[in-house]
Symmetry: C2
Subunit: 191 residues, 2 copies
């Protein structure tokens, strides 16, 4: 599956849509901003990061989108997702319908129990953050590391640099560790 994903991103389409979803407080905006900055660093692609609020955003599920294209992005809203990260059951239930056929589903198996498909990548991001990186707050960064490994859409070094640039002072080590753990564990899923 991993090879299919990498091929898809690199060759067969110009536009790639990512949604990071979870509950408020899980750092989905932070995650999407740093992902966007890391991808933008190369300068070869256009990247737009966005989030919406309003009547349609009511409820506990929070989302932040990243759209990547080699051409100028005239329509920056994510509509048919190439990758959905779901950090909670509610977010998965709400946004799974927006995932493309053959889109990549990544879930936090610490918090999501009912899966709508067997075709997904699951890792216990929240548990990994708490037990291995020292704080539940960096579960979003564990997930970013996993997305990096699964898609190859961004260089790990660029992603670490972008995370560290925005991480609160004093949390650098924890964030770096979180990213490495997510990256390494996801690599194992690819084998």
């Amino acid at each position: 599956m991993a090879v299919r994903i990498l091929d898809k991103i690199k060759t067969s389409q110009d536009r790639f849509e990512i949604r990071l979803s979870g509950s408020g407080g899980q750092g989905m905006i932070f995650g999407s901003v740093v992902l966007c900055e890391a991808i933008g660093k190369e300068g070869a692609k256009n990247v737009v990061q966005s989030q919406s609020y309003g009547p349609e955003a009511r409820g506990g599920a929070s989302k932040a989108d990243v759209v990547i294209s080699s051409e100028e992005i005239y329509y920056p809203k994510a509509m048919k997702l190439d990758l959905l990260l779901a950090m909670t059951q509610e977010a998965l239930d709400k946004y799974y319908k927006d995932l493309k056929e053959n889109g990549i589903l990544v879930v936090d198996t610490s918090l999501v129990t009912e899966m709508p498909t067997k075709d997904y990548y699951g890792l216990p991001f929240t548990q990994m953050a708490r037990e291995e990186a020292g704080h539940v707050m960096v579960a979003n960064v564990v997930a970013l590391g996993a997305i990096c490994a699964l898609t190859g859409i961004v260089k790990k070094e660029d992603l670490i640099e972008a995370v560290l640039l925005r991480a609160p002072r004093g949390t650098e080590d924890r964030n770096r560790k979180a990213l490495e753990i997510g990256y390494n564990e996801a690599l194992k899923l690819k084998k």
Copy 2:
């Protein structure tokens, strides 16, 4: 001028586009995320916050956009700005062309010296942050307070709540003070 602005927002158009611009590190993304969350809190309006990276975003000027509409926002990219905040000369030079005729220009007069028009609201946000709120880092929040007072597009209480929710722990007082200073000084400009 203030009355014109308020009228425009409340009555004559459905879509309102705001761009916060400055240099990287001045907190334009933070500012636009909290502005967006504060406006979204009422639930009556749709709000989309976005930023772009890529070839067209090269250089030192950083921007983050907020689009507000009472209808669903199909096209979330800001194109003709109703309000431009420019925290640096470079940002002003780069984005002034995107401001609508009769759009509202708000500049940080601590850092911007050459104005392309006489029709603007100027306050020394960076200086106010440093001298009156205790840290240059909250210049973005001083500017948010001013935008709140000048446009009435968001309730001050909602904005304070949104800022405090995302402000790093220990900076709450400084952020609250920054917002109040910006609000009060901008109110004086309206008289």
